[in-house]
Subunit: 660 residues, 2 copies
């Protein structure tokens, strides 16, 4: 290993440039280096590099093809690329199946009561909820890359879909048209998701910040829980709006005669049971199966109880009828033209994006925990295909929700095959067991949903955000309040708007700082962070902390001039010599545009009038190239471009002193 790390500080000749070494403790000759211009790329190369970075961020799907000369092998690679199941299916073992089988049974017991409840949120018949846990979970494992996501209807998406759809069609008066629009929206949700994946536009969902998602989910959970009060309290007349004020009014108006004590008794006792098992499951990870199976147990016990006591005759609302049989085809029900197609498209895009955000966020979390790679673009195509197929088989928008996937993961799933096990159980239920739900009280479904969505309120995360970043907390709060006090769509809009505003704001006011010298080193650091750094007399050293673009160029120029004025006054009071040099540390300036260069030129002219020389330290590759093309380096002189602040000080500082 020639020229490798030497633990001492000997043999420092200049010949080891090709090799590699740890720098010695005494470095004398950094001034022998000059700022380097990176090799100039052709326009095409530069452009294609940027495009590749945007669309193929984490991976390059074509890379493996290049290394593979044979055509048959390339075809096999392509197939594997399209159907990840071909990869993991080959290594599938009985041991893995055991894990998947148990996990599949567990999520099936959870999903059946949830699906019936969620379909109510979407104002759709209960069997449509169950359909969504039959077909889509069969499609996903073929295409998806996550091992933990469990597919099916999800609370927030159901609520959003229900609230958007009922703006267009009344689900009570026009149930068929409503259903048709729901399938249309599902179809376009799938198309949207698949298209985003296909065109590798996955980065779009990254515009939703973590904080905004926490706030939005918390708000949605409260809204959903409030909606459940209808079933929980046995209220018949309930508002169609989702905001907290309309719902509370609706509840208080019905307080005197609209509440049903039998219903409340059943709902409250089972909610207590569910929350207790949930608490136990959280405390002792081994007992998590209690919380996973508690919903099904509640359904069985309460159904039996209602059947025995005939409580449905005392005002306890029951599910009544769930249609028997598997998903009927629904391709003919989708609007492929006319105004409803457009409406369905709009609703589908919104619901599809939300479903996508949830699934990708959840998928990433578990992939991170188990350390495997989730391919965002493939996930989108998988979810999209799943929803398109779902829309043709009477399902509404499905996705990989957090609660279900967490149970799946904790129950020990090994691959996406647990979805297939769940799907099989749901198939059997649809074929043989639906009559058993006849006496299931609606109240129990409300209790199950309430206990499920309470897990979406992540107040610990909100507190964490508050402690770490106040601005982020504002974003979180804005999204939360938007959902709770207005509507789900408004909350969504607000969440996107706040996120974008935050970026724009931060692009407008980059940070600048004054630097000082760490005594006995050539290191220069922010004087606010390191109060014991020392000033170099006759010099002002300013650091700019982000790219200089048109949004910030004018601000940066003016802020630097203000630092200069402040520092001039401070140094005058200390009887330091006249300021003659302004060093701008550009390490952190990743890029600059023509407005930025323009601002630097203005800065240079303003300094020239005051007889102060402008020195730039450590410009990066893009910056130095643009400064050269713009002839800015000619303007200020090449000797004013310095490799480090330390070099610049070493080179120019003595002059400042000689002049005193």
């Amino acid at each position: 290993m020639p020229g490798a790390v030497s633990d001492g500080g000997e043999n420092h000749n200049g010949s080891d440039i090709g090799g590699s070494r740890v720098p010695s403790h005494c470095d004398m000759d950094s001034t022998s280096y000059r700022v380097s211009f990176p090799p100039k790329k052709s326009l095409f190369k530069e452009f294609s590099g940027a495009v590749k970075d945007l669309f193929f961020a984490g991976d390059d799907p074509l890379r493996q093809y290049k290394e593979q000369p044979s055509w048959s092998k390339r075809a096999w690679l392509s197939l594997k690329h399209l159907f990840p199941v071909l990869e993991w299916g080959r290594h599938y073992t009985l041991g893995k199946f055991k894990g998947d089988f148990i996990a599949g049974l567990t999520i099936a017991s959870l999903c059946i009561p949830q699906d019936i409840g969620y379909s109510k949120l979407a104002h759709l018949p209960p069997e449509i909820g169950l359909y969504g846990s039959f077909v889509p979970p069969l499609i996903y494992p073929l295409l998806g890359t996550s091992r933990d996501l469990a597919m099916g209807p999800m609370a927030v998406v159901s609520l959003l879909l229900g609230s958007l759809l009922q703006n267009e069609i009344d689900p009570k008066k026009n149930p068929l048209d409503y259903k048709r629009l729901a399938f249309t929206a599902t179809f376009f949700a799938g198309i949207t998701q698949a298209a985003l994946g296909f065109f590798r536009l996955g980065f779009i969902i990254e515009y939703l910040s973590h904080a905004a998602i926490i706030g939005f989910m918390g708000g949605a959970a409260i809204i959903i829980a409030l909606q459940q009060l209808k079933g929980f309290l046995g209220i018949k007349d309930f508002t169609n709006n989702t905001d907290i004020i309309s719902v509370m009014k609706s509840i208080f108006k019905s307080a005197h005669h609209g509440w049903n004590w039998q219903t409340i008794l059943i709902a409250a006792s089972f909610l207590g049971f569910l929350l207790a098992t949930r608490h136990i499951g959280k405390k002792k990870k081994k007992l998590f199966w209690m919380s996973a199976t508690a919903p099904l147990i509640s359904v069985i016990v309460s159904t039996f109880f209602v059947y025995i006591t005939r409580a449905d005759k005392h005002g306890v609302a029951v599910v009544k009828n769930i249609e028997k049989g598997i998903n009927p085809p629904s391709a003919s029900l989708i609007y492929f033209s006319g105004p409803f197609m457009l409406k369905g498209f709009k609703i589908g895009v919104e619901a599809g994006l939300i479903a996508l955000t949830e699934a990708i966020a959840v998928g990433r979390t578990f992939a991170g925990m188990k350390d495997y790679k989730l391919d965002g673009n493939k996930e989108m195509m998988a979810l999209g295909t799943m929803n398109v197929v779902g829309s043709l088989t009477s399902c509404y928008v499905t996705t990989g929700g957090f609660a279900r996937s967490a149970v799946n993961s904790m129950a020990g799933c090994k691959t996406a095959a647990s979805n297939i096990v769940m799907s099989t159980v749901v198939l059997l239920t649809l074929l043989f067991l639906t009559p058993l739900f006849k006496y299931t009280p609606n109240a129990i479904l409300s209790s199950i949903i309430i206990s499920a969505v309470l897990g979406l309120i992540d107040y610990e995360a909100a507190y964490h955000i508050w402690k770490v970043d106040k601005l982020d907390f504002l974003v979180c709060l804005g999204a939360f309040l938007g959902v709770v006090f207005s509507s789900v769509e408004y909350g969504l809009l607000l969440r996107v708007a706040i996120s974008i505003a935050k970026i724009l704001l931060q692009a407008t006011r980059p940070k600048t700082a004054l630097l000082g010298n760490l005594p006995r080193t050539t290191i220069y650091r922010n004087i606010e962070q390191y109060p014991y750094v020392t000033t170099v007399p006759g010099m002002v050293i300013v650091q700019v902390d982000s790219a200089i673009y048109f949004t910030s160029s004018n601000y940066v120029k003016e802020r630097i001039l203000r630092w200069l004025e402040e520092e001039e006054e401070r140094q005058r009071q200390q009887n330091f010599p006249q300021i003659e040099f302004l060093i701008v540390e550009l390490s952190s300036v990743a890029d600059i545009d023509t407005s930025g260069i323009h601002a630097l030129e203005e800065l240079f002219r303003a300094l020239e009038k005051r007889k102060i020389q402008l020195i730039l330290a450590n410009p990066g590759p893009r910056v130095i190239q643009k400064l050269q093309s713009a002839k800015f380096i000619e303007l200020i002189g090449e000797d004013k471009i310095s490799l480090t602040v330390g070099d610049a000080v070493k080179k120019f500082a003595p002059k400042a002193v000689d002049d005193v």
Copy 2:
């Protein structure tokens, strides 16, 4: 001067922390420093700091009050703050007046024909154009801080206003309502401008990038020049649209019978004269007065010529009648209620913003050239007040245009008083000279406008942008094509949209780079820019080039992992030891949010599984504070936070070698 710069390298004791010195050439003890936590600010202080930075970027208007205890002096300061004229008026001298007087006469001779022409662009009677060069230039000098801006109607704003207004009301069928809507729009344009200044929201106009302005202005100039072909060719039937395709169609349709050769002859010969003087003025700065007075000379000569030959009887269109007398009050004409108020408001906001952008950009250019300070927020209030007063005195939106201000500056204006001189000349014209314009051919006005707007096409700047920054050029081209092929409003929208998209894109994909060691130093630099840097075996050093926010957090994590994989393979090929350390250089990471910290945690976990240690070098004040609040430092261990990359390598690299 204790502890000041020592030119040698002696007396390095630890006691000079309070003083200041140039670092010695041999620095051995940077490892004795640790990354410092900045003093924690209270929530209020942090928030008010951010607000202050956003709204009071370059100045703090309250600063001087704090230093001024007496009430009368504070009142005087406030007055001076509101009326900058009180400041510069006190030092006004006869010498300055001489300059202002000559400049005022020069711009008056330029403005009279221009105003008549511009009012045609806005589909308003010619006297309204002249009104705009009488009242507004009297208001501006009282409030404005620019010494060079010359006020009055401006080509692009006139075109925009005309095209927006005629979408609402037909100026031929309903001239009175049209005029009323124009004054309403002017009123709200003024209110918008003043409000932006009052609430210190001036940073909003910074979202329009230099490149977008160049493109937009070039496109607008072409559109305006094309519009002038109506007068230039003597066409009677002309399209109302502004896009190039409609205009060209209109011209070719009328080619056979609609063109008037006498008109073309007059127009072409005077355009030749104007362009020739413009060329001379550009070549020899001393002869600029030729180009400044050429328009008025053209008007006089051509008017006399038409009067003698009675060419108006041969189809040469003339101005005919300009109403005599000064601005009539127009407060009663403004719509303060009803649907036209809303429309006027919308149009006013758009036109007001464009007028503002132009004036501030022009004002800044000249302030930079003469090195005085332009206060953006005061400018906005001045322009706003001027337009509100203008709307009450029969003016339409006025601003400080580039052409007029350049002539003003070159003619030697010293203060804004040249505006008052110009205004006086326009007053005399309105009172006594309007009948003289009776025989002025429209064609001459077209020639004057064409020669004026040609100066707005800055192809040199466009070429410069192309050379320096390709992405910026795309923005420029987009704005240009939007205006030329669609409409002015669409071009504006496109210009804002492209600008914002550019920021968002760059916030999504920050740059990362692999660093290597400059041999014989402790400096680490980008291996792409400095190809001769050397690798440290067993270590990967990555630098992130911008703040890590939710838009980029996931990308940054995945990109770092990809660097790691690539580098692992490369080092394996070179038989270097297994990689055990990943150093992330955070100098350039100005800020991080909760999503960013989340991504770092995921990175840490992924590295943990591969038995690689994560080291962070030089986190800035905001980053270190947030990492601490989020307990990330506890997670990775405080010894993993290093002051510089060099320190980290020195501390950890030998281990990597010992393990081989």
